[in-house]
Each structure stands twice: as structure tokens, then as C-alpha cells.
């Protein structure tokens, strides 16, 4: 599943400032989460934001679909449980419907909106730019650098883990999953190599002049235009929240 996620990175545009994206996304999710349990109708208009972004930036539908599907099982279980715990009826416009269903639907909408917003942030903002934005929000430099390093190594190690698993399967084609005894040694190997790699990476970095203070992370200027865009969007969300209860 993960290689597919990776595939979308090159499609990313970056003409919205990462800081704006970060602030807007958080406000959006905050507003979405603040709606109450029955706020199905009120939530629906909020979908305008992610949909606009997706259409405007032509974000990868395939990626979005996958992420959404992956988030569904848990929320569905919790949502379905509401049918058992809520037996009241509510009036919904002119109909009387079971409240449980309304809660269920609201949960699904909320989940969709929150996941969409996070995915839009991810798809429009490359991690290096995000790092710059985090720095300007005074997130400690160490954590930001760590974020970059982890991100970089995830894909490398995923490849490696995949090859290890493949090598196992090539030699033990009759097994479906890896026997525990071998698993320890297999993952242990991956771990040892990871350690050695960490050492070599660090050396490779220092060989090329790395130090925490000097590591280059570009912070783009937050222009007045960007600011206005951000403030207006954020205020729109909040006003909507205050007006539509």
C-alpha cells in the first residue's frame, strides 16, 4: 500500500505557502471536530474546501481514495455501534429518523472531511517546505530535522524490508507468514543494518559538512498576500462555525 502513496509526490504543486496550508488545515479540522454529534447537514457545506483544493490542484484521486478507505473500518465500527446505543428518534427536517443513523452519518462525514483536509495538506506541501513552516512556528530544530531524516529513511527501509520479505518468500514459498523464530532474526538483521546505516548516514552527513545548527532548511517568506489569504480563509471557517450551529 505504501509504494502507491509515494507515487504521488511528484505531482505536488507548491504555490500555497506551507505555513498557510498548515494553519488553514488545523483550523479546518478544529472547526469540523467542534460540530456536535448530529450536525450532519451543517458539516456538508464544509466539504467545499477540500473539494476545491482537490479540483484546483488536480490532486491524485487514487491516493485520496486509498487513504479514505484505509480510515474507514475503525470509524465504521464505532459508528455502527451507535445504532445499538441510541434508540431515540430525531426530527430531521420533516422526517422522524432514528438518531443512531444520524450520528453514524455525521461521524462518517466528519472523518471524511478531516482525512481529506490532512491529505490535501500532504499532497500540496512537500515535506521540506513543511519543515520550513514548522521551524517558523518555533518547533524545535532538532525535531524538524528528525522529521526530515525519518521521512527520508522510511522509504529506503521500506524497500529494504520489502526485499527481505521477498527473499524469505523466495526460499520458503510454502509459508504465508514468517515463522516467529526466523522473524526475530530477520527483523533483527534489518535492525542491525539500520543501526550501521544510521552510523554511516551520520558519517556521510558530517563528511559533507553537516551540523544541527547549520543544516539548511529553507524558510520561505510569508508574503502579505499569503497572510491575507490565510486570515480570510480561517475567518470564513470560524464565522461559519459560529453562525451555523
Amino acid at each position: 500500500m505504501i509504494d502507491v502513496h509515494v507515487s504521488n509526490m511528484k505531482e505536488r504543486r507548491h504555490d500555497v505557502h506551507p505555513l498557510s496550508m498548515l494553519i488553514i488545515t488545523f483550523t479546518y479540522i478544529f472547526v469540523v471536530a467542534s460540530f456536535h454529534t448530529y450536525a450532519f447537514i451543517e458539516l456538508v457545506p464544509l466539504s467545499v474546501y477540500p473539494i476545491t483544493m482537490i479540483v484546483f490542484y488536480r490532486l491524485s484521486i487514487r491516493h485520496i481514495k486509498r487513504v479514505l478507505l484505509a480510515s474507514l473500518p475503525f470509524i465504521t465500527v464505532i459508528g455502527a455501534s451507535q445504532l445499538f446505543f441510541i434508540h431515540e428518534h430525531v426530527s430531521f427536517f420533516h422526517w422522524r429518523i432514528e438518531a443512531g443513523w444520524l450520528v453514524f452519518a455525521t461521524l462518517l462525514v466528519k472523518n471524511t472531511l478531516a482525512v481529506l483536509a490532512a491529505t490535501v495538506l500532504f499532497l500540496t506541501t512537500p515535506i521540506e517546505q513543511l519543515a520550513g513552516a514548522l521551524l517558523s512556528l518555533r518547533i524545535p530544530r532538532l525535531l524538524v530535522i528528525q522529521l526530515l531524516l525519518t521521512h527520508r529513511y522510511i522509504f529506503l527501509l521500506l524497500e529494504e524490508a520489502k526485499r527481505l520479505r521477498q527473499a524469505y518468500m523466495l526460499r520458503a514459498s510454502q509459508h504465508r507468514a514468517i515463522q516467529l523464530s526466523v522473524w526475530g532474526s530477520l527483523v533483527g538483521h534489518l535492525l542491525l543494518r539500520t543501526f550501521e546505516r544510521a552510523e554511516r548516514v551520520y558519517e556521510a552527513m558530517t563528511l559533507r559538512g553537516f551540523s544541527i545548527q547549520r543544516m539548511h532548511i529553507k524558510i520561505e517568506r510569508w508574503t502579505t498576500k499569503e497572510r491575507i489569504y490565510t486570515y480570510v480563509t480561517v475567518i470564513l471557517f470560524i464565522v461559519y462555525r459560529l453562525v451555523v450551529i
Binding site: 471536530a33 448530529y38 487513504v67 527501509l157 520489502k162 514468517i178 522473524w183 527483523v187 534489518l190 459560529l242
Partner: protein, 321 residues
Amino acid sequence: MHMADALISPAVGIAMWGATAGVASYSLKKINMEADEKKLPLMGVLGAFVFAAQMINFAIPGTGSSGHLGGGLLLAALLGPYAAFLTLAVVLFIQALFFADGGLLAFGCNVFNLGFYTCFIAYPLYRRLIRRTNIWFASIIAAVVGLQLGAFSVVVQTLLSEKVELPFTTFALFMQPIHLAIGIVEGIATAAVISFVMKAKPELSTTTNTPTNRLIGTLGLLALLIGGIFSSIASSKPDGLEWSIFRTAGTEELHATTTLHTTLERLQQSLALLPDYNLKNGGASIGWLDIGTSVSGIVGVFIVTIALFVPYMMKKWRKET
């Protein structure tokens, strides 16, 4: 057991962000990375390792199903609790952002549930057990304790958020046993890897900085606190659904709100574009008011908890090390 944004109220989300930020900044100070810059790539690579290792499933003996490594306890064992906590936070952030696994608002909850209990309670317990018993027993117990606390914390956060109706007992009885199973698998997996590494490269598994034994004491403290918070809330509110209906049915305290609230309420009524939902049996509106009260209540409880709890823990740690 990732919390999702849809299940959480802003108040709980922000309170937990605060708690996580507190623990993280303390951990940052504690590991003093400027002095040991080498730790940085190690943390990065190990964070990635946890990710990668989750791809490799193993067969759970005698069950026909398979499981994978969660990684929190392993990270703590290899990096020490402070660096492990930070590493986990970064990994969870990437998961939340890239794979929308967990959520951004729920990020604080997730770091706390998966990182805090594992690094600062399960891990010290592990250190202590391993001296007396063998590694398998120690890591199974530690993993189970960590996950039980985490799962309980999920239950509490969900109920406090009031976004769904779940009777406490049902929810807890659902979550705890599942996480007992997950904990056992996690413990076995952790032990399998650590015992390989101990044989292959003994120097690795001993290099971590240990927090105090006495942190174990905080286990009790923490259980008490969580229990305390929860029971104080639960006692004023009989149980799940009834409690909520009781509230929304309109009690005095609900209407004993500030003038700000009443003005807002009027404003809201005049501006409302969409119909109000009315609970059939009650008729009181749920909406801004509901959120207003729960926000103030919950933020209060959390601020007090964190204000009391985090500095207390920090003082303890400082004394010991």
C-alpha cells in the same frame, strides 16, 4: 488504537496536544542532543525502522493468524525513554500526515496513548522485570501494561469528547481485551528482536540511559489519576447514554450560563440557517451550549491534571538522575 479526528472534541484534542508538547520538550532537554549529535540520525533511522518492520508480518504460533511489531517498547529499549518518545512522536506525525492514520487534532492523544505509557511506564517496568525474570516475560508484561493504559486512555478520551454514545463499561470491555491480545503479540515480537540483537551485538542493548526505578511508582500514581478523573466525571454522570440524555434533557446547570452564552444563543437563533435537531424526548437544543459547557469543563480538568501531574513527574525524574 489510533484515535481519529472524528471522535474527538477540540478541547480534548488541544489538552492532549498540550500534554504531549510538555513531555516532548522535557524529553528534548533531557537527551541533550547538542552533546550527542550522533543520536539524531539514529533516531531518524530507527523511526523509519519501526515503520518498515511493520511491513513484515509473522505467524503467531498456534493461532493461524499473523501479527506485526508496534515498536514503541523496542524503541524505548534501544534509545532510552526520552529519545524513544520523540522518535515515536515524529513517526506518528508522519503517519497522521501521509497516511491520514490517526489525525492531526488527535495527534496529541495518539502520541500520549502510544508513546507516553510505553516509554515512561512500560519501559521502566521492563527494566525492572528483566533483572529478575527473562526477557520474554518482561517484555510481554511491559507491553501489555503499556497497551492497557493506552487503550484505557482511548476510552477516556473518547468518552470525554462526547462525540459518540458509548457506555463506559461496554466500550472498556471491548477495548481492553483486544489490547490484551495485541499487547501479548507486541511483547513476544519485541522480545524476539531484542534477544536476537543481544546475541548479535550485545553492546547495543545496554547503551541506553535509564530513567529511575521509582518511575514504577508513577504507574500507580497515573492509574490513580486516570481513575480519579474518570470516576469523578462518571459519578456525576451515571453512565454513558443516560448521562447524556439527562444532560440534554435540560437541567438547571445547563441554563445557568453566562450572559455571553445567552447572547450567543440569541445570536445563534437569529442567524441559524439550518433547522435545529430536536431530541424527541427532550426538546432542548444541543449545539453551542453543549460545546461551551463541555469545553470549559474538560479544559479545566485537563489543565489541572497536567499542571499537577507533569511537573510532579519531572521533579521526580530530575531527582533521580
